[in-house]
Symmetry: C2
Subunit: 230 residues, 2 copies
DNA sequence: CGAATATATTGTAAAAAATACAATAATTAA
DNA sequence: TTAATTATTGTATTTTTTACAATATATTCG
C-alpha cells in the first residue's frame, strides 16, 4: 500500500440501533444506560464500535441480539452520520439502523456494555449524547414513511392482534386518525390479514376477533404489481 | 482515551457517487476511468476516501463538485456498504450517494484522480471494481422508488422541457408506459409544472410547448398534506 | 336475571380519482 | 398543396375513497 493511504485509515465506525416497540400506551424506544466512557451514566441509543473483522450488517445484528436476546428481528439501515466532531475520542462514523420488535417478546437481557435498558415513550426522550437525538428523529421520520408503504407494522404487534390494535398502531405512528369502517375495509381488502378464528380473552366487554399477518400472501401480491399504501 | 479503543481506529471511510443523467436515448450513469491504484485502468464509480477533517456530507459534495464542476446538485445518501473484504488495502466502509444532474449542463472537468469520465447507458454497465456493481444496482432501485414519490425527475431535465420529454423520462426510469392523455392530465393537475409560454425550436414537426418545474408551488402543496405519486 | 356499560362490527350513498380510448392541430419538408 | 411527423385534447366507465351511525356481543353490577 502506498504511504499516502495511511492517513485515511484512522477512523472508527460504529452502529447505532433505534429499537422501536409498541404497546397500548403508544410507540416506545429502547435506550441503554451507558456503563462505560465516553458519556458514562447517560441514556443513549444501543450501539457499538465495529471490529475490523466484522461485516457491517453482522455488527448491527449482533448489537441487537446482545441487547434483546431475540432472533429474526426486522431491521433496516437508515442513514450514516459522519460529522467530524461527533465523537470525543476521534473520528467515528456511525451507521444507524432501526429495528422493530414485539415488545411482549422482549425481556431485559443486559449485555456487557449496557448496565440497564428501558423503554422510553417516543414523546419523552431525554437529551442523548453524541448526535443520538438527531439519529432518533431521523429514524422516527423514516418509520413514518416506511410504515405507510410496507407491511412492517405487524413487526410491532403480537402474532395475534385485533383490528383495533392495528388501527391504533397506525394512528399512533402516523399521528392521524382513520375512520373505523374505512380502515377495516381497506386492510381486509388487502387480503393478507387473516382471521385466526380466535377471540380476545380476559376483556370486560365484547371480545374482538384475533387476526394474523400472512407474509406469504403479501409476497404473492407484490409480485403481481400490488402496492401497499395506507 | 482507553488503550482498549485504539484497535477500532484503523478503518477508512469513502464516499461513492452514482451520478445519473438523462437524454433522449435514456438513463445514463457517469463512471470514471481510474488513474490510480487500486484498480488502476478500470471504470468505476466516482468516489474518494474521506479525510479525517472533512464532514461526511461535505466530502460527498466535494467529489461531485470536482467531477462535474457543478453547484447545487441534487444529491442524497442511499446506503453504506461495509463488508470486511470489499477493499484490497484494508477495512474501508463506503457511503453511497446518488446524484441527479442535467446532462446538458455537464462539461468534462477532470479532477486529479480521474483521467477520464464517461456516460454509460444504464443497460450497458461494465464489470466494476470493489462492490460498485452492487452499489449501482442499489442506487437504480432507489431512484425508481424515489422518483414515484418525489418530484426529483426535473433534476434530470433541462430547465425548460416538453411534456413528452417528461413522460419519456418517467417511462424510461420506471420501465413502464403511460397513456399520453392521462399522464398529462395527472401531471398538470398537480399544478407545479407551469407553461413558460415558449415553444420548441428547430424541430421538423409541430413544436411542443415548454414547461418548467415550480419548486415553490410544490413546497406549498406538500405543506397542505398533498402527496406526489405517479 | 335484567340492565348498564363498554367495545366490536358492519353497509351504503356520494364524491373523487383512475382508466380506457382516437380524433384533430400545428409545424416542416417535399 | 400535400405528406409526414409529433402535439394536443375530452368523455364515458370503472374503481377507489370518503363520509357517516346503527346494531351486536361480551362483562359487570345491582
Amino acid at each position: 500500500m502506498d504511504k499516502h493511504f495511511e492517513s485515511y485509515f484512522k477512523a472508527a465506525v460504529s452502529v447505532d440501533n433505534v429499537v422501536f416497540g409498541f404497546d397500548h400506551t403508544g410507540l416506545k424506544v429502547l435506550l441503554i444506560y451507558r456503563g462505560a466512557d465516553p458519556y458514562r451514566n447517560c441514556w443513549a441509543l444501543p450501539g457499538d464500535l465495529i471490529s475490523l473483522d466484522t461485516n457491517l450488517s453482522d455488527s448491527a445484528e449482533k448489537v441487537l441480539q446482545d441487547l434483546t436476546g431475540l432472533d429474526q428481528i426486522y431491521m433496516e439501515q437508515i442513514h450514516t452520520f459522519g460529522k467530524v466532531d461527533r465523537h470525543p475520542y476521534g473520528r467515528v462514523f456511525t451507521v444507524a439502523y432501526f429495528a422493530l420488535i414485539k415488545i411482549e417478546d422482549y425481556h431485559l437481557h443486559p449485555s456487557s456494555w449496557a448496565e440497564e435498558a428501558a423503554w422510553f415513550p417516543i414523546g419523552e426522550i431525554p437529551d442523548l449524547p453524541f448526535d443520538h437525538n438527531e439519529i432518533l428523529a431521523f429514524a422516527k421520520d423514516q418509520l413514518k414513511t416506511k410504515i405507510r408503504r410496507q407491511p412492517i407494522g405487524f413487526e410491532l404487534l403480537p402474532k395475534h392482534f385485533t383490528l383495533t390494535e392495528l388501527q391504533t398502531l397506525y394512528e399512533s405512528i402516523l399521528e392521524t386518525e382513520f375512520d373505523v369502517r374505512n380502515f377495516r375495509k381497506k386492510i381486509l381488502s388487502m387480503d393478507f390479514i387473516t382471521d385466526t378464528g380466535l377471540k380476545q380473552t380476559s376483556v370486560t366487554h365484547r371480545p374482538a376477533k384475533l387476526f394474523k399477518y400472512n407474509a406469504k400472501k403479501y409476497n404473492n401480491l407484490i409480485n403481481t404489481g400490488f402496492a401497499f399504501d395506507l
